[in-house]
Amino acid sequence: MAEFLAYLIAGIATGAIYALAAIGFTLVWQTSQTINFAQGEFVMLPAVLVLLAIKLFGAPIWLGALIGIAAFILIFGVGFKLTIVDPMIRHGVLPLAIATMALSIIMKEGAKDGFSAEAQKFPSFVPTETISVFGAAISLQHVAIIVVAFGVIGLLQWFVGGTKLGRQMQATAQNPTVARILGIPVERMVLLTFVINAALAVVASVLISPIYLAKFSNGEVIGLFAFIAAIVGGFNQVRGALVGGLIVGIVDSMAAAYISTSYRLAVPLLLLVVIILVKPEGLMGRKEERRV
């Protein structure tokens, strides 16, 4: 039992990381039907930019963090939306998805050539101590990630449901045409989601990198798991990312423990197939009406 608990807690800790990365997937999908295959790289890059700013300008850590984060939100929030999404969104999901694939190559290779092919240590804003929960070890870093993941979801739910801006954003997500008629600045709302996505990527990056280390290739793993998490939880619900992330994290941990370490990746994927066959819109997802 203690053993099971240890795996469970490890799975939740990992799952929270996937959840944090997956929120962005669901956000940009809802407002602009964009599948961002560079999402993993979005989480990888802020940490690298922070380290780069420190290295280039010899800046102290807080200044480096500020420069790196500001640069990232500007380029990959606003810039991404204006230069890549806007010209392509009318042409369907696929060309845009491919363009984000190309973007992910650019980000990955850019981080490797511009910074380093090696993993780098990233300073933690949270103490690295380990605490014991029911006899299972968990680090404060992981605790912080779990808290932040839940906090972000709560904040987003409140924002969407409880503020005018948020309701406008939701209206945009549900029906842009009607929203436009109602006088909601749809373009600005979509832009806002991209900025939020970039900001969330930064939060995820800063929290995850001290554990996973900052490395150009980290986006591949994080991106894949976040994608699976978003599908499992439901692409069109922000809280789907949280549920999906935690489930995938726990399933992954259990698979390694009780099934097979060399096939552990297969188990979350089989879960994904089952969910698609049983409830294609994801566990928490809304059914998307087919436009006939």
Partner: protein, 378 residues
């Protein structure tokens, strides 16, 4: 007037002629610069660049400057084959790389057919078992390293059971397949066999699994970064059993990334900039100065590969492509003949290497060599 022109022309000739006569020798490095092997490949490439810069600064090989070209394999066999073919078509003097055994497997026949020496960074046991006369390693093979580790586990660590944690790529799988029969021979029980993914970020579940196996010791066979992540996860889960590994567990990079978690780790080291050999440390300093980070063993392998080519060329006193392989086969390169080889190296006829190696331990964030192991066939 005329005379001036003639002098000017002659001067021009004098300046340009040596450059023409002393045409360069082209070396092509085909290596993993993107994809799964990018980190290892980049170290290898940097090691090569460092060696080429050193050699060229000292007048090149037999007076010829080395022209080095790097081609990326994307860690993909099809692309590797293209790149090696291109290297040969462009008249490379020898092929350097790749590091991963998949890309090596896809390209070794081509170099063999062209009768050109190929110096690779691969450690998997199978590479040198195919009778390819043109393939040369730059490090010990796993078949050479693992018996030393098994002996160490038995005699020094006195472990009755061992948990094996390995990365599921050619490097890790090769190591695992080599250590398990050795453990069996030494009468050590395999407590648990844990495969991990290349580039895996989260090792919590693996660490719990190892902890629950109650093994007397843990054998960790992962790449540097994954080693660091595993050590941190193991510390978090409170694993106190000795961690034993190979070169990739005890490197400076692991110590840097894992911090305290690396303390107490011990094992066998082939190439390490921390080894008590002045030439190794010298290399480490030069590398650090040039690239601003600490080289791993792949950086050393790349460096030595270039010097192996240099040594063979100077030995045969001519630029004969086929001769490089013939000269290297069965040779022993002494540091007195070629300081760039860093450590006396014997090349066996199948392309395997034999060298001295070390037993080491990490104490207070530093790698400390505890013993030097002789060559297998001294």
């Amino acid at each position: 007037m005329n005379r001036h022109w003639i002098i000017a022309a002659a001067l021009g000739m004098a300046v340009s002629l040596p450059a023409l006569a002393q045409d360069k020798v082209k070396l092509v490095d085909v290596v993993e610069l993107s994809g799964a092997g990018a980190t290892a490949g980049t170290n290898w490439k940097n090691g090569i660049d460092l060696a080429v810069a050193d050699i060229n600064a000292k007048g090149g090989i037999l007076g010829k400057q080395i022209e080095i070209v790097h081609y990326d394999t994307q860690t993909n066999p099809g692309n590797t084959r293209a790149a090696v073919q291109r290297a040969i078509d462009e008249g490379t003097y020898a092929v350097l790389g790749p590091v991963f055994s998949g890309p090596i497997g896809a390209s070794m026949q081509i170099a063999q057919r062209a009768e050109i020496a190929q110096l690779v960074g691969g450690e998997a046991a199978g590479l040198t078992k195919q009778g390819n006369q043109y393939l040369f390693r730059t490090s010990l093979s796993q078949t050479a390293a693992m018996p030393k580790i098994a002996k160490y586990l038995k005699d020094t660590v006195k472990a009755g059971s061992v948990a094996v944690v390995w990365v599921n790529n050619d490097f890790g799988k090769g190591g695992r397949d080599a250590i398990i029969p050795e453990l069996e021979k030494a009468g050590i029980k395999l407590a648990v066999d844990v495969a991990t993914e290349q580039g895996q970020a989260d090792f919590a579940a693996d660490a719990i699994k190892v902890k629950n196996s109650n093994a007397d010791a843990v054998f960790v066979y992962l790449n540097e970064e994954e080693s660091a992540r595993f050590l941190r996860a193991a510390k978090q889960q409170g694993i106190t059993k000795p961690m034993v590994g190979e070169t990739t567990l005890l490197g400076a990079k692991v110590i840097e990334l894992a911090g305290d978690a690396a303390n107490g780790v011990k094992g066998h080291v082939g190439l390490s900039i921390d080894a008590p050999i002045p030439a190794f440390q010298e290399f480490g300093k030069k590398f650090q100065a040039k690239y601003n980070y600490v080289s791993d063993h792949n950086g050393m392998k790349g460096y030595m590969a270039v010097y192996m080519v240099k040594w063979a060329t100077e030995k045969q006193k001519k630029f004969d492509k086929k001769g490089v392989a013939d000269t290297l086969r069965g040779a022993t390169i002494k540091t007195s003949e070629e300081p760039g080889i860093l450590i006396e190296t014997t090349i066996e006829t199948n392309g395997d290497l034999d060298r001295e190696s070390f037993l080491a331990e990490v104490k207070d964030g530093k790698q400390v060599i505890t013993a030097t192991l002789p060559k297998i066939n001294p």
